[in-house]
């Protein structure tokens, strides 16, 4: 009986490309992570900028996107931008939806990256900003050369948390028609309800393998990079 179960389990991997599905999640995470961090940095800069309208726009963005379920954003990207407005991000049909999923993950997590960075900005002592101004730097150079570099180092841990959330949230890309791990799990459970527990544990383990090293790495990094004060 045990032997049979194991065989059933192994046959799953021949039938379904589990590794390939997880690879899609990793790709989604990498692209959305980089783009989200860039957008998040811009937003964080806007939120501490001297221009009131930019500050307002930044916080409005964060309020809207942080409080909307990701699934809804995903559906809007596909059904709204592509389905109704006819925008395409790639001539290839499948790549197109992959990119829309990246866009949705990016705009959603940018709000969280922004908040993580802002918490990093709060760890920068006021003296640093005052010193930057004292030597004649205006806002953008001061932000670029003095505040943000220190803020990044101070916010490695919260940024890591957002990255971990991003890895797990990449499963929502199924709503955009991207063939990734959670969608595959659903398909596998539907076709092989006999080994349901094994399927679940496989996917759970896959995420633990992806997430825990990221968590440990960011923790170690945050300690190494922490600005000693």
């Amino acid at each position: 009986m045990d032997d049979g179960y194991l065989q059933q389990y192994v046959s799953l991997f021949e039938e379904f490309d589990v590794i390939g599905a997880f690879w899609v999640n990793i790709q989604l995470t990498v692209y959305a992570g980089i783009l989200g961090l860039v957008l998040g940095t811009v937003l964080a800069t806007m939120r501490i900028s001297p221009v009131p309208s930019l500050r307002w726009a930044g916080s409005a963005y964060v309020t809207v996107f942080r409080n909307t379920p990701l699934t809804i954003i995903m559906v809007f990207c596909v059904l709204g931008l592509w389905g109704q407005l006819g925008w395409t991000l790639s001539p290839d049909f499948t790549t197109n939806f992959f990119r829309f999923a990246v866009v949705a993950l990016t705009v959603y997590h940018a709000a969280f990256f922004c908040e993580a960075l802002r918490s990093g900005v709060n760890t920068v002592p006021i003296g640093q900003a005052e010193a930057a101004r004292a030597i004649g730097l205006s806002f953008l150079p001061a932000a670029r050369l003095v505040i943000l570099p220190q803020a990044f180092r101070g916010s490695v841990a919260p940024l890591g948390n957002v990255l971990i959330a991003l890895i797990k949230n990449s499963t929502v890309a199924a709503a955009a028609g991207v063939a990734e791990a959670a969608g595959l799990m659903k398909t596998m459970i539907e076709f092989r309800p006999d080994v349901i527990l094994a399927i679940f544990l496989t996917f759970a383990f896959g995420f633990v393998v992806l997430v825990v090293p990221v968590g440990m790495a960011t923790t170690a990094l945050s300690r190494r990079l922490a600005v000693v004060r």
Binding site: P50, V51, R55, I126, A204, V208, T219
Partner: protein, 288 residues
């Protein structure tokens, strides 16, 4: 914010320039908005037929409000259970026994790494086979368990790092007046850590509320599910989802504001530094 340390108060020329930029910016945003709306109108998505259902009471009475009720119910229960889980394992991670510390640590790390959706599916399928829960309650139980284990783990981490953020004097003073270490933790440190972590806990509450939407996959009739059903029946799924998104934004925004206010009011009652971010994963600096 004119007293921000990051920049000088803008002078008259800078203010004039800002005004012009604002006007140009607003025009650009309005222009894009107009083009998008026109494109939607061209596809008939702004037709009154598709929006009218939300003016009447049927959409609200039969779909959106019951959905909202179920979302709030699952979120409410989960918040309570996750807090209990978090306090137990948060204290466990601070225990003097290295065994308790390690076990608590492993549990917390595992549940933080697994996507909530997977946990919900697992509990849903697993508990069904045990026959311990009334079938009608099963989706709710599975949703609550999934949310509890994940968010409870986050709470545990918050409590742990909150305790670590307290000045050492707090514990020393507690011990000095004759409290045992566990008493100090329970009576002095954890309460202060909770207050210090209130902003972070508040943002986690928003996460709980939004994550109830994952329950729709295991037949929990939450707000998102209700909106989707409404949209299926009336052929206006984009509009229904937009309304649902609006409801989520309003509720979550109110929740965040409320928690922020609370945090400011009780902020004076802690020696810790209030933090808005969940702490890092794995072992933090103070843990040995």
């Amino acid at each position: 914010m004119t007293d921000s340390p990051l920049f000088d108060t803008p002078g008259p020329r800078a203010r004039r320039r800002m005004l012009w930029m604002n006007i140009v910016g607003a025009l650009v945003v309005a222009g894009i908005g107009f083009l998008v709306l026109r494109a939607f109108a061209a596809k008939g998505q702004l037709d009154a037929d598709l929006w009218n259902p939300f003016v009447g009471s049927r959409a609200w009475e039969n779909f959106l409000l019951p959905g909202l009720k179920d979302t709030l119910k699952a979120a409410g229960i989960s918040i309570v259970t996750a807090s209990i889980f978090g306090i137990v394992f948060g204290i466990g991670r601070l225990s003097r026994s290295s065994l308790v510390r390690r076990v608590s640590g492993a549990i917390v790390e595992f549940f933080r790494a697994v996507p909530v959706l997977l946990m919900m599916i697992f509990f849903y399928l697993g508990i069904a086979r045990l026959h311990v829960v009334e079938p009608a309650d099963l989706p709710l139980v599975a949703v609550v368990l999934g949310l509890t284990f994940y968010n409870g783990s986050v709470f545990a981490e918050l409590i742990r790092s909150g305790v670590h953020s307290l000045p050492r004097g707090q514990r020393e003073a507690a011990l000095a007046v004759g409290l045992r270490p566990t008493q100090s933790l329970r009576l002095i440190e954890v309460p202060q850590a909770l207050i210090a972590m209130l902003p972070a806990i508040a943002s986690q509450l928003v996460v709980i509320l939004k994550d109830t939407a994952l329950g729709s996959i295991i037949t929990y009739p939450d707000l998102l599910d209700a909106a989707r059903r409404l949209g299926s029946g009336d052929g206006n799924i984009l509009q229904a989802l937009m309304i649902a998104a609006g409801m989520f934004i309003v509720i979550n925004y109110a929740l965040t504001r409320l928690a922020g206010r609370l945090a400011r009011r009780v902020g004076g009652r802690t020696a810790g530094r209030p933090r808005a971010e969940a702490p890092g994963l794995a072992v933090g600096p103070g843990a040995t």
